[in-house]
Amino acid sequence: MIPLSFYLGLSALLFSIGLFGIMYHKSGIRLIMCIELMLNSANLNLVAFSSYTDTLDGQVFALFSIALAAAEAAIGFAIFMAIYKMHEKINLDELNLLRW
């Protein structure tokens, strides 16, 4: 049986890749992809704990987290569409004033 810590290590690896991606990338679309990667690594943790402690609560919470990740991505893209209408490109380094 695979020990639980391997699953947690994999999810920590995915989370740190997402963290690096968020800190490094400038374009908004890639930022949302990295946020989704971090959320999915959290989901992997939830499901791993749920199956390794023989309870179903983790999987139910993973379901809720997937729905909220979708809602967050939708709002993120709506915001980037509004930004794109103003600046013709989404370069997160140049967005430094809240009121454009």
Binding site: M1, Y52, D54, D57, A70
Partner: protein, 83 residues
């Protein structure tokens, strides 16, 4: 440009090291044998029962959140004529 990349990479690797130490250091008290439920293999029935008995309130609140997200996203992404 290069320093930003190295700084970001360093922070991510440090974070991974701290997390990895924590994960591989602790002994998780897990069940000895992975649960193998033959009459409900994909435990969809179990999740369904759990959602509608134990987690009803979060489930309904989640639908409200998704509805608000839908309305907000549509309003924000409105076309030119909304100005």
């Amino acid at each position: 440009m290069q320093t930003k990349k190295l700084a970001a990479f360093g922070i991510a690797v440090l974070f991974l090291a701290v997390l990895g130490l924590g994960i591989f250091g602790t002994s998780w008290n897990t069940v000895s044998e992975l649960p193998e439920n033959f009459e409900d293999p994909s435990n969809v029935e179990g999740i369904g029962m759990l959602i509608f008995t134990h987690y009803v309130v979060p489930f309904e609140v989640l639908s409200l959140v998704l509805l608000a997200t839908l309305i907000g996203a549509i309003y924000m992404a409105k076309g030119e004529e909304s100005k």
